[in-house]
Amino acid sequence: MVVTFRALLAGALRDRISLFWSVAVPLLLLLVLGSLFPEPAYRRNLVLGLVAFGSLSFAMSGTGFEVMRQRGRGVYKLLRATPFPVAGFVGLLAGARGLITLVGAMLVAGVGSAVHGIDWTPGGILLALPVLAAGTACFTCLGFVLGNLGDNENQVAMYNNLFLLPQMFGSEMFYSLDGAPGWVAAVRRWLPAGRFIDALRAAAGGDGAALVPSLLVLLAMTVLILGLAAATFRWDPGDRRHLPALRRA
């Protein structure tokens, strides 16, 4: 398990495209948008929004492409012929990518807070950790769903847009949706990234009571998406695409 985890961690660290989108782009946006809009409240929300954007990019998009590539390469099929438990492998893959997502999120949060003068209380940092972990888990599960749906790079890219864009623009990552129509606010409540940002804001403000509802909804969404990921999981590209396990049942 240790050897496999180390190797998956090394592979994830060499995933330059995911690292670019999850660390370099958020850091760049922190500087650009933070300079353009210097209001403290906006900067604070921007830092948290970009933490969510970076996490979503690495944990969801990165995992989605990785799962598709590994399945396309026949890794999962081969795994079935070995004594290694596939569930264990999937857990290690999620763990490795989750760990890097967490470190990336902390880096973006740290740099953003330092550059834009945001003070985190020790309590706020402690509250943020479970939120980051829950968000990472949820986005990683979404990544598995993404990787399960697509057969090739183009298809995964298409599904990725479908998953990413609504969460980017409907979750207050870069701007407030206070003036948006009611239906936008209603949709936002169903977006994992929206709940993640709400919980993160509550944590940053040291408000444990305000954090709980969003965190619970995020965890419930994680369980649901995990179920969907398990139901859509395919051993090799030749398997049925949609919900094979449910169809068999």
Binding site: V3, A10, R14, G74, R80, T82, P83
Partner: protein, 241 residues
Amino acid sequence: MTPLIAARGLVKRYGGRAVVDGIDVDVYPGEVLAVIGPNGAGKSTTLEMILGLRGADGGSVTYWTGGPRRREDPGRWMGVQLQDTPFFPGLTAAENLQVFAAFYGVRVTRQRLDDNLAACGLAEAAHTEAARLSGGQQKRLAIAAALVHQPKVAFLDEPTAALDPAARREIRMLIRRISRSGTAVVFTSHDMEEVEKVADRVMFVSGGRVRAAGTPQALTAAYGVADLDELYMKLAVEEVS
């Protein structure tokens, strides 16, 4: 001699059509068994059923257990190279091999890793990213991964497909070396010259059934043909008519 694997009456159906229709296979220690036949004959499906990658609709497979009171997991002593070349794109050849060893529950030393790569002609490519290896090197890496735990049987599914003549020759020599080390090799191929050069036994599969089986010499003599290429054409034509 007791076979390591004894498959009896294997059946696999897709949509009511039997793609494998009662195939028997025995694999003996140290032998090289070639499974030949046209595309869609059921060769890969048969191997995948033996490996447990596909469930069979009929028949049984008995595996060597290590002795009357032992229950060794066959996954630990079978090695597999599939038609795909499974590896982790971001990792080097050596790192990939290390991961595959872990999949088989084996911890390999640096020396053994180097030996394994060298045996497959990959010593100089050890630290090259797997995705950057040539087609032939990727096939050899897949074979190295199938052998990393020193299995009793290695299944190689079309190991020389889409390779240039030099790479094919290297793989042929590699199969011979594997066999000499005591590991049985079961491989599928469309290259009859290759089969004739390396196989101890040949099994011709067509329409999901075994049409002919035996040593290359016995088969060519029995069918009155000059070589396996001619035998292949003769059996394939018989199947069509």
